[in-house]
């Protein structure tokens, strides 16, 4: 099972880039935490979700 933002996600084998595209998230406004570590944006095309992963995608919105 893979959990993203606390919910089970059917993303086995998918890259982070593919996941962001599926959700309609712009890569330049997110931070992706995977199993406790923030993943470098340079790695979004290479890192694939595997069974047991727990991720949080933080999508930043404007305002401050």
């Amino acid at each position: 099972m893979i959990r993203i933002n606390g919910e089970e996600a059917q993303v086995l084998g998918m890259t982070i880039t593919e996941y962001l595209e599926m959700k309609g998230y712009r890569a330049d406004v997110v931070a992706v935490e995977l199993n406790g570590e923030i993943i470098s944006r340079d790695s979004f095309d290479a890192v694939r979700f595997v069974d047991g992963d727990s991720a949080e995608v933080v999508r930043f919105v404007g305002g401050g």
Binding site: D28, A31, S40, R41, V58, F60, V61, G62, G63, G64
Partner: protein
């Protein structure tokens, strides 16, 4: 004029000596001195945080007056200078380090090399993500308190503090977006700034 001894004595009486000492020994960086950053910096100075590193590239404009900690006499001044002036009228014994520069992926780590606790207080979503990603992937132990979602005059209680991991916390409602056409207003921006400042105090005091 209050003397330095009187100021720290007052804070020690108010906060207890141990809490006062730990806040006085702390250093916090504030990246972006708009509605969030200007208010966070003033709150931390009032708490007796000993050193603030203030980072911003803008000057004070009329459109800032609806929510940022500046006054009409500051119009046209660099925000780093205007905020330092304002802070030091409240707490003359807070040490301020001023960096007037636009942060990007190339300079952020160097600018923040001596800072361990960083308040992300930019208004642009991509700038927020840039700072969080750069600091957390290029350094090993710095902690970032970011903000996302405080636009408009929606529910106050939708603004919350969440821990993503041991190095990243996000304050805000995580949804209300400047891009949706809502305006930034002082109350909700200050609620979010209060979340960031209180979390900074809690982290300094080892309570998170």
């Amino acid at each position: 004029m209050i003397t330095e001894n009187e100021m720290w004595e007052m804070l020690s009486m108010r906060h207890t000596p141990d809490v006062c000492r730990r806040l006085r020994e702390a250093r916090v960086a504030v990246a972006g001195l708009g509605g969030l950053g200007s208010q966070v910096a003033i709150m931390l100075a009032r708490c007796g945080v000993g050193m603030l590193h203030l980072i911003d590239c803008d000057v004070v404009e009329t459109s800032n007056l609806n929510r940022q900690a500046y006054r009409t006499c500051h119009l046209g001044k660099r925000k780093v200078d205007a905020l330092a002036e304002e802070l030091l009228t409240i707490q003359p014994y807070c040490r301020v380090l001023l960096t007037h520069v636009r942060m990007d992926e190339g300079n952020a780590v160097d600018i923040l090399r001596d800072d361990m606790l960083i308040i992300e207080a930019f208004d642009d979503a991509a700038a927020k993500a840039m700072l969080v990603n750069t600091v957390l992937t290029q350094t090993k132990d710095k902690v970032v308190i970011a903000a996302s979602g405080m636009v408009g005059h929606g529910d106050s209680n939708a603004i919350r503090t969440e821990r993503v991991n041991r190095r990243l916390y996000v304050c805000g409602d995580r949804a209300s977006d400047l891009a949706d056409g809502l305006a930034l207003m002082a109350p909700r921006v200050m609620i979010c700034a209060g979340h960031q400042a209180n979390l900074a105090v809690r982290l300094i005091l080892g309570e998170e």
